[in-house]
Structures are given as C-alpha cells and as structure tokens.
C-alpha cells in the first residue's frame, strides 16, 4: 500500500543522502520526495511517498526513526491529512485547441504562468486525483514538458482516523 510519510529532520548537510541511502540500501521504494525548510531554519521537513506491505512500512518508519538526524516521523496515511502537489505543464496545442486548453486550465483552477506563440505553461496545484485528471485531459492536446514537485502533506488539526 502507498504511504505518505512526513519527516522532521535536522537541516544539516548530508541528511538527504542518509535518507536516500536508507531507501536504496534496504531496497525500499521512493515514489516522490520533497524537501524544504520549516519555520525553524534548523529543521527541514521531508515528505516521502513510498509503497510496501504493512511489514515494510513498519520497518521504513522504524528505520527512519533510528537515523540520528531524524527528529520526528509521521506516517500521514494513519492520520486525516491534506496532500498537495504542484505541477507545471507546458502544452503546445494546435490553433483549434487553444481555447480548450485555456478552458481546462480554468476548470482546474490552474494559472497560465508563461505563454509563447506556440505554448502555454500551466501551473496546477491539487491532490493526486486532480493532477491525474488534468494531465489525462491535456495529453491529447500535446504536452511538451511536465514537472512536478512531489507531494507535500500536513495533518488536519485535531482529528485522528479510526
């Protein structure tokens, strides 16, 4: 099953490679990984999306906890939480599809962040389903480039699942 794990780590050099090394060394999957500073510049937050059966996920959580630089491990999948990801999509539609591209961007509350003679770059933020949906719809119009941030997640206040 897919899990989204949020980590608070010391903002030191080498920490990312310790985490990445743990996953590669033990053969765990990383589907996506995003890193950024928190309000406290000494602490970074990492969001890792990974897959595995219950036993592997338990091991991943424990192994992450065991790393000296990891302050806290939160398996978001156990909690009620909000997940978001941002993508930038550069489309090169034919003349007759241009209006449809703009319409889709609007429906998905995307923003056109760059445009040229032949292309639009659309920024979309949302959960996985929303991103997948717009990508599917834009594909026939000709996606030239596609970049995504990887997921970030935050727990909802005060509610615990189950």
């Amino acid at each position: 099953m897919r899990h989204t794990i949020s980590l608070l780590v010391e903002n030191k050099f080498g920490v990312l490679s310790r985490i990445a090394g743990l996953f590669s060394g033990r053969g765990y999957n990383i589907e996506s990984l995003s890193v950024g500073e928190t309000i406290d510049p000494q602490i970074s937050v990492m969001t890792i999306v990974t897959t595995g059966d219950d036993q592997i996920i338990e091991q991943i959580n424990k192994q992450l906890n065991k790393l000296i630089d990891v302050i806290k491990v939160i398996d978001m999948t156990e909690l009620d939480h909000v997940e978001r990801e941002m993508v930038l999509i550069k489309v090169a539609p034919k003349q007759e599809d241009k209006a449809e591209v703009l319409r889709l961007a609007e429906i998905f509350r995307g923003r056109i962040v760059d445009s040229s003679q032949r292309t639009y770059t659309i920024e979309v933020t949302g959960d996985e389903k929303k991103i997948e949906a717009i990508v599917e719809l834009l594909k026939p119009m000709g996606i030239k480039e596609f970049v995504r941030t990887g997921k970030i997640a935050i727990a909802r206040e005060g509610v615990k699942k189950g």
């Binding site: 780590v9 090394g21 060394g25 036993q55 192994q63």
Partner: protein, 577 residues
Amino acid sequence: MKITGAEIFVESLKKEGVKHIFGYPGGVVLGIFDFLYDNKDVQLILTRHEQGAVHAADGYARSTGKPGVVLVTSGPGATNTVTGIATASMDSIPIVVFSGQVPTLLIGNDAFQEADIVGISRPCTKYNFLVKNVEDLSRIVREAFYIATSGRPGPVLIDLPKDVTAGKAEFTWPEVNIRSYNPTYEGNKWMITQAANLIAKSKRAVIVAGGGVILSGGARELRELAEFTDIPVTMTLMGLGSFPGTHELSLSMPGMHGSYYANKAIQESDLLIAIGMRFDDRVTGKIDAFAPHAKIIHVDIDPTSIRKNVRVDIPIVGDVKRVLTVLNKVLKEDMKEQWAEVRNAWLRQIDAWKKERPLTYTYSNEIIKPQFVVEKIYELTKGDAIISTEVGQNQMWTAQFYKFDKPRTLLTSGGLGTMGYGFPAAIGAQLAHPNKLVIDIAGDGSIQMNIQELATAVINKLPVKVAILNNRYLGMVRQWQELFFSERYSHTKLDESVPDFVKIAEAYGAVGLRATKPNEVEPVLREAFRIKRTVFMDFVVDWKEKVFPMVPAGAPIDHMLFEEQKEKTEKKLKAVK
C-alpha cells in the same frame, strides 16, 4: 587559551578516558602524529594495515566493553578502514574512527589522497561527521563517543580536515544534547507483564540469547531468568558467553551449524524468548518454517530488529539488562508456578535430544582432527582465555567445541563474517588484557588476510597465540563445493601455496610451532601457552573434515545433515535446492 585541533583531539580523548588508539600515519594527519610523539597520556599502537587497526580497536572494545579508537590518514588510509567499520557495524561494536581529510578548501577537488569517506562509510557507520570548524571538534568527539556507546552501540567515524586539526580554538567540553537521538532503555512494563504471563503458561519454552545480552551487561540477569524458570538457553554466535556453555540448561548454538538439540528445542517450543538477538538467517533457516508452534517474545534495544523478519507476539524495546531485571522481579513476585514441575517433561525431552545427537566428531590417531585442537585448547585453558576466530570452519568448530562461560571471551565476526578479523582483534584484546591468555583460532586462508600484524604483536610484546587449523583449503567454501557443487573445488585449494607458517612467524621475530600428529597437539599447545611471546601454531589437520551438523541454506533448521549421513544427504540436498 587557544590550542590546536591536534591538541583538542588528544584532550578530548583524555576526557573520554582513552589510553590506546590504533592507527597508521600519512600526510594530512602528520600534525596529530607529531603531537602524539611525546604525549604520555594517549599511546598509539602502529598496526601494519589500517584494516588491522580497526579490527584491533574492535577486539579491544569487545573484550573490555569500552570503545576502541582508530586514527588513520585520508584517502587510502580511510578506505582501508571500511571492512573493519562494516564488521563492527554488523555486530554493534562501539568504535570511533578518526580519518584525516584534505583541507576543507580542497574537498571535492579530487585532491591528492582525497576520498569521500563520509559518503563511503555512511551505510556502515551508526553515524559519521565531517568536522568543518575547529571550534566544533571537541563537541563532535564527545557526541561521537556518546553515539557509539549508547543505545545499540556501533561505529562512528569523524573526518578531520587538515586545516581543522591545524587551526586553533579554546577547549570546551559541552554536555551532549542531541534532540533527535533518544534510545529507549526501559521496557514497557505492561509488555513485560504480558511476557511473564506467557512464560508462566508455556510448557516448552526456550531462550535464544544474542550479542545484545553481552553488550548490555545482562548475563547475570539472563542466568537468573533461566535458572529461576528452568528454561533452557541457546546462544547465537554473538551470544556465546552470555550464558555459561557448561550450564546444564545450555543448548549450545542454534542455526546452520547449531546443535541438534538447540534446533529441535526451537522447532518444538511453544514459547521462544529472544533476547538481544535479531533473527539472522543463519539462525532461522527457512523463515516460514521457523519455530512454527511458538509464541515469540522479543527483547531488543533496537526497534528495527523487532518484526524485521519474524512475527512477534510480545515486542519489548529496551536495554536487555534493565528489561530482564524487571521481568525477573515480576516472575518472582507475581507468579506462583512450580517451575521445576512445569518444565520437567520438556527438560527430559531436551536431555533425550542431547543424548541422541551430541556435538561430536570422529577422533583419529593418525591425523589431526581440527575439532580435536579446539577441544584441547578448551581443556588446557579451562575456558579461562579470550578466544578470537577467523571465519569459516575454524569459527564454527570454535563455537561448537569451546565452551564459553563468560561474556566478552569470544571475539568473532558474526554479522559480516570477515576473514582476517581474528588476529588483529586478538592483538587489541591482548593490549587491553596484558595478563590474559588470548588465542586466535584461525584457518590457513584467513590468517593470510592480516598476517602482517605479526609485526604489531611482536614489537609491542603482545603474547598472542594463533592456532592455525591448517587444512590447505578455504575449508568452509570447499565444504559447500563438496556438498552442493559436485566436489568441484574451484579456487579453494591453496595446497602448496600455503606458506610455511613457522618460518613466517620466525621471520617476524615470533615463535613458530608445528604439529602434524594428534599426539603432538597437546605438547605444542602447552609450549605455546608457556612462552610469553607471540606464537604461531601450525596444526596440519585433516582437510576432508566438515562442519556438522549443517542446515543447508534456506532449509528449515531441523533439516540437519550429520557426519555419518553423507550419502543420504547429497540426495536430500538436491531436493532442497
């Protein structure tokens, strides 16, 4: 007053109570070596290879419980430590390795003798540091010793750029405060009570004791538990010595080359109490068929060891000694069982297994059996010695035929299985225990992997004894080839390439002795133990001898092969593969 990084380094070691370090010099650590030249507090033992230095520090640590310390240069000096570090890591041994590094400004420039040792050693250290400012040095040293020795111990590496050790700063000694590192020592009381209940209910319980018992200093508590509840104990390779091998409740070692009765007891048990061990595949064999009827209680300080490869009913995260102290108290105060009665049938069954298939071999009058040498060493030392081993058959025969009664008397590379470990480890142990008899039980292959350390032993007057079970083969590999590869001895026959170990010893200024007949074994051993010098003993042994019992890799642990069954086994083996 500001002092140099080199002085801070030595000052910090003094604060940590370090008297000996093992090392090897080179360009970027010349400053430190210069400072050590006339320093009286910290003595550097020059090994003849950096791998030897790390194993020596490891042997020092295993035999004393105190961290071993290493100092090497950058680049090749640092990379030569990797096998030693990985060895210590797999067996949770506290060592602190200092490696020189090129000056900070040159890092990343492919400078002369630069290696990214922090990157290289990351997966095999518990933690590692690159010191970027001389002001941080003493704090980092203190943190390194704390991390190496607390929780589940392990190796820590500190990379010291040349400019950092040359730079100057005030000496400070700040308390360790690592917010993200808080090992759990106390076991959960409720879980411990649950464990006590299971123990009281079980009819066929067995304890599997691992290296964690020794690391936590919990041997006494383990013995108390076993004796009070009348539960037999089997000790993993790393656990040998955690419970007296001569005790009537001892089942010897389990697993691939374990005793018949240990493996039978595990497979038939209704409760397995795993203490400070991690269910290595050499212990469990086929995991799905392991202890099929047993509930499992697992005590370990490292939560990742629990439920890593076997299901566990009662997980207890904590320090073995502390958990057992509480468990023993609960058992004594709250449980009303008449233990002797409860266990009577089970212990009788185990006795029957012990009689049915004891650990044994066929003695010969003509040719020296390697097991006989180990038995004789045990007999003559009466167990009062520190024994190290190399890896291979020599290691397994030692585990089977030498009875370890006390913790920290066996030094062996369990997890990594590093050939070349035993001799330098024995040197480290001898340095820490000048008056003890320290013996490396070796193979002719393994001993050649760090044979250069003869110089270290001789020059430091360390009277280490090396008993080479010389079978002229890479014996353990040959055994697998005989059993699983139709006796095709691909690159395992050393034969005439095996050097004359007596002459080698003599060339280094040590003593060399040789036995080629069974009746020479005892006199050679007696002579070696009498001489207060480094001695190599070359025991020319039967090359055909194999380690039995043996569970083929991947088979359930009660599918064991025994000596006399050779014909049948081969067929069985094919079936297993």
